[in-house]
Amino acid sequence: MFELLLGLFAFSIPGLLLLAFLWMMSAVSSMRIRVDLLERRLDNAENERVALTGQVASLSAKVAKLQRAPVEPVVARAVAVPVAPVVTPPVAVVAPPLEAAAVAPPVAAVVAADLAQAEAPASATSAPVDVVPTAAPSEAPEAVRSPVSETAPSEVAPSEPSSEATPMARQAVPPAAVRPPVSAPPERRVPRADPPIAASVEPPPPSPWSAVEAQITGNWTGVLGSVAVVLGVAFLGIYAALEMSPFGRFGLVVAAAAALFGVSVALSQREEWTALSLWVRSAAGTILLMGCVASVQFTPMRWVESDAVAMALVGAGVAVNLALGYLAGGQGYAAVHVSISLMALRMLPATPLPLLMATVVAGAGELVVVRNPTWGAQLAVAVTAFVGFHLHWFLHTDPSLPMWQRHYLPVAALVVIGLAALFTSYRRVLARPELRPTTLALHLWVLASVGASFALHDMGGWAATVGLLAASVGLHRASAFMRERGVAWLFQTDRLVSLALATGAMATLYRHGYDDAELIALMGIPSLLWLVNEVRRGGGLVVTVALAGTHGFALLFALSVGVEMANAGLFDNNGALELAATIAALLAASAWGEARAATGDGALPTLGLGASAGLVLAGLNLCLFMEADAAWVPLAIAGGFGALIAFRVWQSTAALDLGLTMALVAFAPNALALIGIGAPGTFDGLLSVVVLAVPAALLAVRGAPWRPWTGVLPLLAIGTALLVISWRFTVDVSAFLPGILWLVLSVAWLEVSHLPFAAQGQGLLKVIGAATFGAFLIRHGLVDLQNEARVGPVSLRGAVELLAVGVAGWWAAGSARKADDGTVEVGLTGWFLEAALALLGVFIALEVPGPWIAPALLALAFALTEGGALLPSQRRMMAWGIVAHDLALLRVAFLSARLATPSFALLDQAWVTGLLTLLGASLLFVRWRSLARRPLAEVPVPPGLQPLVWLVTAARAWTSAWLLYPVFAALAVYLAWTFSHGVLTFLWMSECFGMFVCAIILRDEVLRRIAMLGVVVVLGRLMIYDLRTADVLVRALVFLGSGGLLLAINALYHRFRDRFAEPTEGS
């Protein structure tokens, strides 16, 4: 009882909030809809008025023309004016407003044609009729000119040209769409997207989605009523059956199946009932099959004792089902019968015979696709159903069964099903070789699902290794075959999968005593082999992935060796040697790739292995750092750098530069600590400076972007001296002071760069200022973060971060500049905005209590959105606002249920702040909707951040998809993990209702369909989960609440069904 009360309490607060929210949305929706209806009535009245006016004008024109002189004077005028700008009367427009413009030219053509028919000689009247319907862009004007040139009146040709009269626009709407004879109305009026007054055009046929949706939504009440009646009858049947023997019950089921079959035969007599007849027949087959299974498996109906009879009976039921599926002749029937047959077989004991039967059923289900290559869904269903069957079978087998029964037999079955599925998949692809998402998805699904099933049979030894290698080789060959046939996408897919399998095969060697580092090295071998093999044939995705694998495994290898060295000590293993060998191998491969590129032997990519070599050196650097006390450490690191530099002198590549830079970056903290700032003046420190300085100098000499300038050295010296002096003289007062001073210095450098005398060295001054800011960031990360000093309730660290945000904002504002063409340019220093955001992120993470981080992120999202809207040069803040919004939702979705607190205060509870975040996120969506309507000139971004432009553009175009759908997704997850599972169905149904209401308000077709899909899923949960597990009272409440919401959805559908019309193309 306590739990129930607690559940109700937990439910009541969000529930009330949710209901209040839904009520508000409902009220707003009804107000908006009323206003819309009033507007629409006004529009209709106006349209009628305009149409009548147009008709009057047209008739007047005709009367006037009949009274006029012959055609010659008119010819000159008609030819002289543009044809297109005839004003579009609303009666002719069947498309929503955007298409109104596109309708104009054909209307002009037909108007002219009508006039020509009315006035031209009989021999000419057929011309417009023949020409206009073709609507060819180049012909339409001529078609107009021809008759009009003889007869068109001056009223038809207004003087202003129309920009919409493009050929494409003319082609957009068929001329046949315009029937009534119309003329120019007194004023142009863009009609709304309402049904046309003169609806002489056939509406486009509804999409399958719309049909399904209308079926689900519109017939909800009827379906639920039917279900209730059927349930009642079923309960009566159960009552009756309880009085019978098991065999009698089986007879009852068979009789029911036979009755259904009879109904199907009767229905099939009429053509319009054919589809229903087939489905009824399928239902009969299903009931018969379930009866057979129950006869051998479930006690109340079990009358078969002999295993042979049992299998024969079930086999017969399966055969009947398959035959019915086959005879029905459609993919849907076949898929249903195959999946039902396999589901029935799952109910049998997990012995070899049902497995064999399932293999036959699934195999037949797959091979039928060979005859019907378009039946992709059937293949997917057959494979999925078999994989499900196999999983169920495996989990229910007795672990003590002999190997051949538990592993070998199912593996053989999987091989058969997998090969049949692949064969079928390849046949389908060869029949239609072009890349289609569904075909690719199906192929990958076949590979993934069957492959995952194999993973269950871990038989130890070499079986998995050999099996994976064999599969890899097989797919490799298949991919080669596909390449020969010119199916490039399947070649790449299979080649990548074969690479993954080979890598997996190497991973299975863990059971043969290889340690982590060796295992990773082995796993990297396939990537290197695939790379070498494919790079000879040119670039492509396979090369990219194999290259990434080679880099990745090299780095993992370096890391794992580092771990071993850290655990065992530098002198206890050969880690340093292994790393050195890795660097050598990477450099050799790099040299090979570059050499081939240099010879122009095909379009070889730059392998970039020099970058990995540098990173491995960075790893070595870090490993050696463990032994920083040893005097030889800097020398060893210097040796590594020396090797890289020597290689670079011999062969200069950008990747090697990158690698060297990364190694230097990794070395920097090492050197700083050794310079000590730990123990200044020691030999190690001196040596470290040399080690750091020499490569830097060599890098600078060898083509780094560095040009001599007279002031460079003095300015660099001043910059460095100011850094060091400010640190040395303030650090003893407070560890925060150097950082604060460096921030001030950074701004000072920027301001000095703006002074007139510094114009020549402005760039360098900015670089020094930016580097000073960078020094602050490094120091803040390494030193300030550990400082917990406070001033009252304020953390000094947080306050310094906010000051740094201000400074970074100052830089960001100062770096944007207007170009000559008026656009805003943002250089590399534009990254200061991102630096400010990173600091804000650190501030939120460290200073804001856990439950309030999500609301803080959302507040940041609001601030960024407003800032971006306000500041044209920082428009990309809007994109970062979306990122912050998504992060807030992620936290709500995945952390609200996990942030436990011993406090009982409501505001300390993560679920409360999560709810606030979700409500806030909804408001952000509303704000974005209003912002999306404003014009947006440009989104200036620094180099490398182009995706932000795309993000802002996409979010403006699809605001709901970017800002509303994630809210609903997060809400669904949040509800699932925050509240009791007993009330979850009701909460989810409430969410679906909310989505449905939002969809009506926003006229959002996708959201509406998602809502309906959600309703279907929640209904499934209601039937499967709640009926089985929920407590009686909770179950009753859930059923009542969910049913009420369903009825509300149904009522809303019927009330606002005009908003559900299929949007016309282009709207």
């Binding site: 850290a566 090492n670 003893d732 550990q786 000093a789």
Partner: protein, 283 residues
């Protein structure tokens, strides 16, 4: 006045005020360490890891079963007696603020070093020497930290693949997955998890009758035992360290306790005068 000038004056003023405020406080350490930065960087990894745990759909029953299994496999056996009773009394008091449906229990175990650790499912193990080191309120802070691990499901996160694999009856795969995951991922965020448990412990002390400053004192006592005190910048060691730096933890929670006491000047809290084994006369 030019807006730019105003902005500059504002920045300079804030910087000066901050500099002055900082100069009035303890100078703090100038020793560079990657530990806090790594803890921070581990938070997104932890978020993703938790999403994976949530998706695998484990619940309290799974967690309790796992805890029982680990305890059965472990070499530790409880040491009934007055010490264990004392520890259990503290745990029982702390567990009043817990939300998970576990019967929180504490076992005293025989180990030579002072330590405490938590099992999934609500079992907290405390070594005997810990009671010779910490006062009652300090012991409460350590136990609250361990309860925090359970409440925040850190143990569940560490063994999620094994639990999920058990449901599928493929234990070995799960254990291997957890092992690999632990090697490659968990190091990245274990410090974040420890910091989270620290936060929980502080909140638990605030909600209890004990002094919130006890947490910092407990860290201080453990720090005194730490012979491998950090020195210099050691990225690898910092990365592979499972816990945040004790020095940092001590400073952080001392500052937070001082802030709390500044906000609650009239509050009465229990503060131990010596190791609980001494003050309570535990054998």
């Amino acid at each position: 006045m030019n807006g730019r000038i105003v902005g500059l004056i504002l920045l300079a003023t804030v910087a000066a005020a901050l500099g002055f405020a900082a100069s009035q406080r303890d100078p703090g350490s100038d020793r560079p360490t990657l530990n806090p930065a790594l803890e921070l960087a581990g938070r997104p990894v932890q978020l993703v890891d938790r999403a994976v745990s949530q998706t695998l759909g484990m619940d309290a029953l799974d967690e309790a079963a796992l805890g029982r299994e680990i305890l059965a496999r472990s070499p530790w056996r409880e040491l009934p007696g007055p010490r264990q009773d004392a520890v259990r009394a503290v745990v029982a008091e702390l567990a009043k603020g817990a939300h998970k449906p576990f019967d929180y229990r504490a076992f005293l175990v025989d180990e030579p070093y002072p330590n405490a650790f938590a099992m999934p499912g609500g079992v907290v193990l405390v070594t005997r020497p810990l009671l010779d080191l910490l006062a009652e309120d300090e012991l409460a802070s350590v136990l609250a930290h361990e309860i925090g691990h359970v409440e925040l499901s850190h143990g569940l996160d560490a063994a999620k693949f094994e639990i999920a694999a058990k449901k599928l009856k493929v234990h070995e795969l799960g254990a291997i997955a957890d092992l690999l995951y632990g090697v490659f991922v968990r190091h990245a965020y274990s410090k974040a998890a420890e910091a989270e448990a620290d936060d929980y412990a502080f909140e638990a002390l605030v909600a209890s009758r004990w002094d919130p400053g006890a947490q910092a004192r407990a860290f201080g006592r453990l720090l005194a035992l730490d012979h491998d005190a950090p020195g210099g910048l050691r990225p690898l060691r910092d990365f592979f360290a499972s816990h945040p730096d004790l020095t940092h933890r001590e400073a952080e929670f001392r500052a937070r306790a001082e802030a709390w006491w500044a906000d609650h000047p009239g509050e009465q809290r229990v503060r131990g005068s010596g190791p609980i084994a001494e003050t309570s006369g535990l054998p």
